[in-house]
């Protein structure tokens, strides 16, 4: 197992290096002088010159990249132009907020997606299956920001049950934290639930055709026991791995959800960075997102090996 983990980590290194080249290259997409863009709305020539020297923009590209990568490897993404805070510190502050949202969203997705997927699989080809599948496809088709707006309209504006936006930390007030994160988690979890449902359905359909399930049925076991004790255990293996991978995709969704609900998380950081032309923040978020995704795919692979008896042996 240790060998497998080490090999997987080694495979991820060149990918991460290539991501770093891409992220560094993003700055080169800026029209004109990057120092001019970095200097903000009304740039002072002295500031531009200072930035050019500070970021080594007057030096050859490979040298610039090596210097930038060296800093990034030490967790130094530079200072945010908007907040004047170290970007690394900002990420440490904001990432737990998005992580909490993503985990709550995934919990909602699993609670809805798995039973719905199993239900559709055991009723395959019936109207129930078509309705569940259509709802799942609908869940994938709803823009998260629109769903957020509609939930605000219903639960905050009309009923006044939940706050329309903002955030309270979990350690400040757990109850308020739940009130502020419930709607965003539902929004984020909707598409995830649809994906979990579709994966569960197709995986369960495949498992229910297996010989050992047929044997269990032939033994006279009740269908409920066959599904829950025999089929579900193997049917959920791919669901666990894809759900782990999908946590990375939730970062994408968090960008819009946090924007709609005004949550100061990792996703909102990239939007704030874009609008204040804080390009170093944008680069840092992209780089960290890739790192998180690669970590999650490593966890998913390990989970797959642990859960799958064939691979384990």
């Amino acid at each position: 197992m240790l060998n497998f983990i080490l090999r997987r980590i080694l495979i991820s290194v060149p990918t991460l290096l290539l991501v770093s080249v891409m992220v560094f290259g993003l700055l080169k997409l800026l029209p004109g002088d990057p120092a001019l863009a970095l200097a903000g709305q009304e740039p002072d020539p002295a500031v531009i010159e200072f930035l050019r020297t500070k970021y080594g923009l007057d030096r050859p590209l490979p040298v610039q990249y090596a210097k930038w990568l060296g800093s990034v490897l030490q967790g130094d993404f530079g200072l945010s132009i908007r907040t004047r805070l170290p970007i690394g510190e900002m990420i440490v502050q904001k990432l737990p907020v998005t992580l909490q949202l993503s985990l709550q969203a995934m919990l909602i997705a699993l609670l809805i997606g798995i039973p719905a997927g199993v239900f559709a699989a055991i009723r395959r080809g019936t109207p129930v299956d078509y309705i569940v599948s259509l709802i799942g496809l609908g869940g994938l088709s709803i823009p998260s920001f629109w769903l957020g707006i509609m939930l605000i309209l219903l639960f905050a504006v009309s009923l006044g049950w939940l706050p329309s936006g903002g955030y309270v930390g979990f350690f400040e007030s757990p109850l308020d934290n739940l009130r502020y994160t419930l709607m965003p988690s539902i929004v984020l979890g909707t598409a995830a639930a649809a994906i979990v449902m579709r994966h569960t359905r197709s995986s369960m359909i495949a498992v229910l055709k297996q010989d050992y399930v047929r044997t269990a049925r032939a033994k006279g076991l009740r269908e409920r026991i066959v599904v829950t004790r025999h089929a579900l255990r193997n049917g959920l293996i791919p669901v666990v791995t894809t759900s782990t991978l999908h946590l990375g995709e939730l970062l994408s969704g968090a960008v819009l959800t946090e924007q709609v609900f005004g949550i100061p998380g990792f996703g909102k950081m990239i939007v704030d960075g874009v609008f204040s032309r804080d390009y170093a923040v944008v680069q840092a978020v992209v780089m960290c997102s890739a790192l998180i995704f690669l970590l999650l795919s490593l966890i998913a692979d390990i989970a797959y090996v642990i859960l799958s008896p064939r691979l384990r042996s």
């Binding site: 060149p14 823009p143 629109w146 995709e249 819009l256």
Partner: protein
Amino acid sequence: MSGQASPRPAARGGTRRSGVRRALSHPSTMIGGTLVAFFVLVAIFAPLIAPFDPNASDWLGVRQAPSAQHWFGTDDLGRDVLSRVIFGSRASLAAGIVAVTIAISIGVPLGLVAGYFGGVIDAVISRFTDALLAVPFLVLAIALAAFLGPSLQNAMIAIGISAMPVFIRLTRGQVLSIKNEDYITAVRALGVRDRNIILAHVLPNVLAPIVVQVTITMAVAVLAEASLAFLGLGQRPPAPSWGSMLDIARQFLTEAPWMAVWPGLAIIAIVLGFNLLGDGLNDTLTSQSEDS
């Protein structure tokens, strides 16, 4: 990107025509195709269908509730919401078409080359693909759109580049699954040039899953365009776009909730249309080989 076409071998020869017929008669394909065709027609004939100029303000009719004159109501500048929803379909469809065209015109050739030639070329292209796939789709699109500058054109480019790696991976996988089959080995033994083998023998046999992926990616691209426009990185006002309409509507939720309802429903309908189409094609086109 959440959806991906099933990487199964495509059908060959005579089964292809019957497969297309079967695909078109699948309920998902029919419903999805009808929805997509509806929006395509709306986008083409927008100037004829829209009851008002989508950019004409009416300061005396600001934020009017839906009525016989304005079926979907009016917005904060007194513009007819129905007309803006109708014209907004143009930005969404254009974004989908251009983004997918960019994604396939770069992704498919790279996937063909990587899968067919293998070796160093494959390794380089595959690592490049892995790197692109490591960044969440929307994060990559936002970053690219931000650095390129906010506009519909740049949003399309950003979405196209972000959608490209899925096509590289899918095409490469398909090519790997067929490149050692007898009919490819035979044409290679006849001395046919690699370029001709790829274009005449490999490409037609990997097309089915790519077609499915195109429809799924259209759904993703339309959603992404709306998302970028919502964040202010897509179509610039006053030109109508469903995403930017929702961004404005957010500020008037208590006074004019209808401003937020219709653009959202339009996005759901078109995205659902492409998703249904993709599902139907996936069920029929990519499973032909299993049946044949």
